[in-house]
Structures are given as structure tokens and as C-alpha cells.
């Protein structure tokens, strides 16, 4: 476990932006980029780009089995990153950190490996109505093989989980509670510690989809007592092509391997194999070496600024955005008020389809998302075919929000 170092309490986005080369880009001639789509993927600081660049220029080699100097250097860097990432989320042991491709694969790994080995027909899995598709479809696929029962913690009109209904579901002997720490649509931060505590009391394990949480605030898997915890590098200033699964050692140890191949074995004969120790047991084949090193640099970058500082900045910005959006006639905000959320503002705009909103904003360099944001059930529940989503991160500033509001008035003008 590691204390979060807050080097200063207030962040200067002006200075931060200098760390991100993409902000020197003109998105159209003369129009700078205003990036409000970090919930889809974050931008990357120079430190991360250069770490990978340096890896390829100076120490690229396959890891683990090599004796030559390059292979040793590469292995040492790779494992040092694993340790840094473990520290970042407060994991007690670095071999509880498994590298995958993305959050989606992390969740699928648990469904395939833990799920098939431990679940049987009729077993209950509790999810929520605000899940991203990546925490729905793996369980649906598993249900089509083992006849599981999926139940959902309802989302109320405010965009919060109904914990009373959750407690009722818990009386039905659930095996797993798998839920998002922070919604990528409405921004709700769910009370993960309480949800996990209640699940454990009911005898269930827990999986936390932390894809949006880890980028936005300090997390500690030991304090949360999370059993599984999944997130993506690309949303937290790291490279694409890399996800993380944290699992408690005892659970991971007892699970059968998922993908088979090199590195995840100790011995192989023609018709049998013995599995390797953690974490390698779950890392089959040549891993995403450069990407792991890139995520190590990302974690260092975020740590240097301080996750509490980042969280405070994003919260202030989101509060300002919600306030200003409410002023715009025809805008309807989707989701809870600022106390319960971070980083995301989703809305509809009367008479204008989100696609049109997004496209007109794009002319002013404003990058926002339009659609169902991989959460069709949540949209369906609120009878919204699609929403427009602006999301904020450490490099955004109030002026970005002001430009968004100006842009929305232009939309109104065109479609009014």
C-alpha cells in the first residue's frame, strides 16, 4: 500500500497541456483541439510516448527467457512496471497484477476462468443497470453455456444505484457481484467499498469494473477488499493494447488458466502441461511489453501530479460544466448531481440528435461523443436512443467548458 503523494493541491491545466503533444495540433486549419472525450480514451503525455519510444530504440527484446543483456533489461523494465502499477492501486503483491489487452479482456478472463470453474446452473450473478457492455456480454455468454441467473441493481431516476434493491438481491445467495466503480455515461461514483462489504457478508465475490475509476481518483484494492479489479491503460494516460486485472492471490492461484501457450507453462509434453506461477499463468505468449512499460510511465506521471489533485481538478471542472450546461435552454442533463459523480456530463439537446450536436461542435475543434456509449440498457431504461457526452480530465480547463457552451448555442442557431 502506498500513500498518494500530493505535490500541490491545485493543478494548472495550462502547464499540464504542455506535457501532451496533441494539444499543439490544429484540428481544422486555425482551430485548436478541445478534447472532451477522455472517457472514451485519454490523451498521452510525452513521458509515456517517450518511454515506449525509448524501449523500442534502446531495449527491445523478448522477455523472461533471455540471458543476453537486452532481454534482461527488457524483463527488468517490464517487471518494474508491474510493481509500479501494483503500488498505484495498492495491491499487496505484484503478481496479483495480470496484464490483458483491456478492461474487456480482464472481465472475460474472470468469466472464463473463475466462472466456468466455480459456477453452476442456477447460480446468481448480480450486475447493475448502468454497466458498460463489457461487464454485461461476458456474463451473458457464460449464461448461454451455464444456465446462470443474472439480476441487476436498478438505477434510480437520479442515476444512482438503488442499494435497498441490492440488499434484497443479496438475500438470494449470489455468487458474484460485478459492478462499475464509476459510470462512463452518467459519471456516478458507486459506493464500491459498501457494495463489496455487503457482497462479502452475503458470501459473494466481487469484480470491480474500474475502467473509469482508476484514471479519476486514488483507489486502493486492499482497502476496498475487492476480489477482482479491472481497468484499461488507454484511459489513464497509458498506451492502447493493454489492460490490467488485479485478483486476490488465493483466487488467482485456484483458477484454471485461460489462454494456453508460451510463458504460462512450466513444462509441456505433447499431450499435457503444468501451469506456471502467478502472474505468468495468465499471460500466454509474448506480452505487450512496450505497452506495459508505457503504462508504468503513465502511472508515474499521474502519481507525480497526485491522484487527489487530479480528482479535485476534474470535480471542479465537472461542477462548472454542469452549472453552465443547465443554463442552456433545451439541454437536459442525464445523471446525478456533482456530489455523486466525476468527470462526465451526458445530456440531450431538445430537437437535435446527438450526432448533429457532436458534428457541429467538431467544427469548433470540440471533441465530444454521441451515441449509447456502450451502455444501451441504461439508455433504453431512460428511453434515450443516444446522448451527447462531454468528459473531462487533467488537461481540461474552464475555457474548454465555455467553448462547449458557445458551441451549443451555435447548434441551437442552426437547428432552432
Amino acid at each position: 500500500m502506498k500513500a498518494v503523494t500530493t505535490h500541490s493541491n491545485v493543478l494548472d491545466p495550462e502547464k499540464i497541456r504542455k506535457d501532451f503533444p496533441i494539444f499543439s495540433k490544429e484540428i481544422h486549419p486555425g482551430v485548436p483541439l478541445i478534447y472532451l472525450d477522455s472517457a472514451a480514451t485519454s490523451q498521452k503525455p510525452l513521458a509515456v510516448i517517450e518511454a515506449m519510444d525509448a524501449y523500442y530504440r534502446h531495449s527491445n527484446a523478448n522477455i523472461h527467457r533471455g540471458i543476453h543483456a537486452l532481454a534482461e533489461e527488457s524483463t527488468a523494465n517490464y517487471e518494474a512496471s508491474r510493481q509500479r502499477i501494483a503500488d498505484f492501486i495498492g495491491a499487496a503483491k505484484s503478481h496479483e497484477i495480470i496484464f490483458t489487452r483491456n478492461t474487456t479482456e480482464s472481465i472475460n478472463l474472470v468469466a472464463h476462468s473463475w466462472g466456468r470453474a466455480n459456477l453452476k446452473s442456477g447460480d446468481l450473478i448480480i450486475l447493475t443497470e448502468m454497466e458498460h457492455h463489457s461487464n454485461l456480454v461476458p456474463w451473458q455468454i457464460l449464461t448461454s453455456e451455464i444456465d446462470l441467473r443474472l439480476e441487476f441493481i436498478p438505477v434510480n431516476a437520479e442515476g444512482l444505484l438503488d442499494l435497498d434493491e441490492y440488499k434484497k438481491l443479496l438475500t438470494q445467495n449470489p455468487r458474484l457481484v460485478s459492478f462499475t466503480f464509476m459510470s462512463n455515461v452518467v459519471g456516478t461514483i458507486n459506493p464500491a467499498k459498501e457494495i463489496i462489504h455487503l457482497a462479502h457478508e452475503a458470501g459473494a465475490l466481487t469484480l470491480v469494473d474500474a475502467a473509469q475509476a482508476v484514471p479519476h481518483f486514488a483507489v486502493n484494492v486492499v482497502d476496498l477488499d475487492a476480489d477482482f479489479f479491472a481497468f484499461s491503460s488507454h484511459k489513464m494516460c497509458g498506451p492502447t493494447g493493454l489492460g490490467v486485472l488485479f485478483g486476490k492471490e488465493a483466487l488467482l492461484d485456484a483458477m484454471p488458466p485461460f489462454l494456453g501457450g508460451g510463458d504460462m507453462i512450466k513444462r509441456v509434453k505433447l499431450r499435457s502441461f503444468t501451469t506456471n506461477d502467478l502472474p505468468y499463468k495468465f499471460e500466454a505468449g509474448t506480452p505487450a511489453i512496450a505497452e506495459v512499460i508505457g503504462l508504468g510511465a503513465a502511472v508515474e506521471y499521474l502519481d507525480d501530479i497526485g491522484m487527489d489533485t487530479i480528482a479535485a481538478h476534474t470535480k471542479e471542472l465537472t461542477a462548472y460544466a454542469l452549472e453552465r450546461l443547465e443554463e442552456v435552454p433545451g439541454v437536459w442533463l442525464f445523471g446525478p448531481s456533482i456530489e455523486h459523480k466525476a468527470g462526465v456530463a451526458a445530456f440531450t439537446f431538445e430537437g437535435v440528435h446527438p450526432h448533429d450536436v457532436s458534428q457541429i461542435l467538431d467544427r469548433d475543434g470540440l471533441a465530444v461523443r454521441a451515441g449509447h456509449h456502450c451502455a444501451m440498457p441504461l439508455h433504453e431504461k431512460f428511453d434515450l436512443p443516444a446522448t451527447t457526452r462531454a468528459s473531462f480530465y487533467l488537461y481540461n480547463e474552464k475555457q474548454d467548458v465555455d467553448r462547449l457552451i458557445e458551441g451549443l448555442y451555435k447548434v441551437k442557431e442552426i437547428f432552432g
Binding site: 440528435h353 446527438p354 450526432h355 448533429d356 467544427r363
Partner: protein
């Protein structure tokens, strides 16, 4: 991309010329774009020579999908069903008169997809992007 919202599109979106439903219709088909929830239905009547005599659309969506539905439906009046089967992506883009990115292209082509699925007599849910490839 700047002429995306050229007057024609906004105008057709706000004041569609061929919005409606035909009951009964000779051909009726509907489909949606799950990405954005856009839904389009197209109804046709044809004469004994398989020439389209009436054509209307209904549904909801963004300006591109609705304007393109209005323009596509207009463009087929007087055409034979075989001619409609020959219609492709380029014809729709020409009607719209704009360049489109991959996501908006799906919006623009939804009406053509619905139209061709109907004309080919496909069953519900059988339409496919191959029709407008």
C-alpha cells in the same frame, strides 16, 4: 466537412417533402442503426410495370439520416424496382452533396439499406450493410 450542414440537409430535415406512411403499401420495410438509435421505415407503391409511383419514409434520427431518407425516396419516383436495386452509396452521397466520415456514412446510408432490403423482399432483420457497400 464544413458544408455538412449545407442548407439542403437542414432544410429537408426540418421540412421533409416525403414523410408519411402508406397503408396498404406494396413494399414496406424498416430498420434501425443501433449505434445511435435512428429508425427509418420506407413504404412504396408500384404499378404493373414495377415502376415506383409513390414513396414515403417515416421514423426518427439525425439530420443526415432523415434528410437522406427524404432525398432517396424522392429520387426513386418513376424508377423501376430493378433500377432501385442498382442504387449504391455514391448515388446517395451525390444526393446529399457532401463528404462523410465512417460513422455519419452509416446514418446517410440507412435509408438506402431499408429501401433495398424492401425491394429485394428481405425478411425483418435480414437487411445488411452489404446492400450498400
Amino acid at each position: 466537412m464544413d458544408d455538412l450542414y449545407r442548407e439542403l440537409i437542414i432544410d429537408r430535415y426540418k421540412n421533409p417533402q416525403f414523410r408519411g406512411e402508406l397503408e396498404p403499401a406494396d413494399i414496406s420495410y424498416h430498420d434501425d442503426n443501433p449505434l445511435c438509435g435512428d429508425k427509418i421505415r420506407i413504404d412504396l407503391r408500384v404499378d404493373e410495370n414495377d415502376i415506383v409511383t409513390e414513396a414515403v419514409f417515416s421514423g426518427h434520427g439525425c439530420s443526415i439520416s432523415l434528410a437522406s431518407a427524404d432525398l432517396v425516396v424522392e429520387s426513386i419516383l418513376g424508377k423501376t424496382l430493378d433500377e432501385v436495386k442498382e442504387m449504391d452509396k455514391e448515388m446517395v452521397l451525390e444526393l446529399l452533396g457532401i463528404e462523410l466520415g465512417p460513422v455519419r456514412l452509416k446514418c446517410a446510408l440507412l435509408s438506402l439499406k431499408v429501401l433495398k432490403a424492401g425491394v429485394y423482399g428481405l425478411g425483418e432483420g435480414e437487411s445488411s450493410d452489404d446492400l450498400v457497400a
